[in-house]
Symmetry: C2
DNA sequence: CCAATAGTGTCTCTTAGACATTATGTA
DNA sequence: TACATAATGTCTAAGAGACACTATTGG
């Protein structure tokens, strides 16, 4: 039967993807958190070939019964026990350079996740070694990451630094449901790597509609001294407008700071 | 030989991706242009199953010898004869919902391309029907696009509308190498679907460092009347700062206009 | 001259950045 | 009390939006 006259049903009955060149699809996660005052990313030590023994982003092959998003959410849950609602998960991009995986033509769709400071990532059933590394350590020249994961982490870092300007995702770095404006400012300072003027930061975040809602309680610092601070929780805003301009958006700052 | 004691070379010699579930990787392009004063997207009429006879984004399977970017650039060249330098090409995202392609588990990495108003897309060797459609027509309820391409076009449209705020890509819509500020403003007005105040737009784009460089010539309008306008060409800026705020970034405008 | 578009100037209001001042907590 | 941090207020300069005005073209 010629292709021309086949119905779509007939075509699909005869169709077999296996005839074509073998390819694979994986997801990889850049799970960011703030640990010891530094922006950090979760890595796992690979227990199998390829890159056995090297550090890599958590991830794995996508099951053909799940979407990419579901595969990423599954990995996030496995590694951090965070559900997609508590944490934050967003597609970063897809990496498909031939040769990036020695097993064959395997494209990987990378996701960015944000996590609060969780004590120890759940190692999962497999006895994999998993822990958070400071970003600057991971991106240093002598840190030997598997695959093209250094590229992915670099892109993920850029994404996070740019996105906290206009998306209300910074609270995802904070463990508690409620937080102070100083804690929020601290997140921005760590992610951007610059100091912010507290009073101006306060004015700006408070002027953003539905970004922060006052909880009505105060928290006294664990350090000696200092006025108790008001607590806030994340509001319903889905955009920060006007954005909190960081060093990513202004070329004049970016030139000197990165 | 157990997996435990294999070297990486031995592992890879035995490894065969074909053993796993069959998957496919395609690229799809949302090639935007401005035609008849409307933002438009290139569609091709599918000559083969699946979705034979329906309109779809140009694209196809990725060759395992090329990167995703190269595959997208190849498609762009085939469809519009634009090289990646003249046009503009950027990864949009990857779509992997099971069932999106009836042939099997096929993920598609979508790219956004911008093209000047080209007369007729090169139909290519294959006798496919290909032409630009106005965005609002394509995204109307009764336009029956193949696959999940309506989702991809919607996302691509959002990307373009957001990105012309801070990236100097608007000139890519203009055929000529040099252009007037009115022509540039026209691009923004069409993409955003709003009217801009000419004098304020002029002041803002001219204040962006290295965005526009004067050519030193004037162009007289083809219409009767009107002062001759200065010509500019795209400069070396890779970011527009401060951004040209459109309706995408300001929730108060977005609410009423979309 | 008129009509039409390009380009300049001006006014006001908002916002950002810098920093002073006041408030409230602990040692 | 001293000290530390939170919260508020103030000043100035830059930028945005609205719109008036001038310049240059063709008919």
């Amino acid at each position: 039967m010629s292709d021309e006259n086949m119905t779509e049903e007939e075509f699909l009955k005869n169709y077999d993807l296996r005839k074509y060149a073998p390819v694979g699809v994986t997801v990889d996660l850049t799970i960011f958190t703030i640990k010891n005052g530094k922006l950090s990313v979760l890595l796992i030590e690979r227990g199998d070939h390829p890159f056995k023994g090297q550090w890599a982003l958590p991830g794995g092959f996508v099951d053909t019964t799940e979407s990419l998003e579901e595969a990423a959410a599954r990995e996030l849950k496995e590694e951090t026990n965070l559900s997609i609602e508590d944490g934050y998960l967003e597609q970063l991009g897809t990496y498909g350079r031939p040769g990036r995986d020695p097993r064959g033509f395997i494209v990987s769709t990378a996701y960015v996740a944000l996590a609060p400071n969780i004590e120890t990532p759940t190692a999962g059933d497999d006895a994999r070694n998993a822990r958070f590394f400071a970003i600057d350590e991971v991106l240093s020249k002598d840190f030997d990451l598997a695959f093209d994961h250094a590229d992915i982490i670099t892109d993920g870092l850029d994404r996070v630094r740019a996105k906290i300007e206009y998306a209300p995702i910074a609270p995802k770095f904070i463990s508690d449901d409620s937080f102070t404006i100083s804690e929020l400012r601290n997140v921005y300072e760590i992610v951007w790597g610059i100091q912010l003027v507290p009073s101006n930061f306060r004015r700006k975040v408070q002027s953003v509609k539905d970004f922060l809602v006052p909880v009505g309680e105060k928290r006294t610092s664990d350090l000696p001294g200092g006025r108790a601070s008001d607590l806030y929780k994340a509001g319903s805003a889905d955009v920060i407008y006007p954005p909190l301009r960081g060093p990513m958006s202004d070329p004049s700052i970016a030139a000197e700071d990165f």
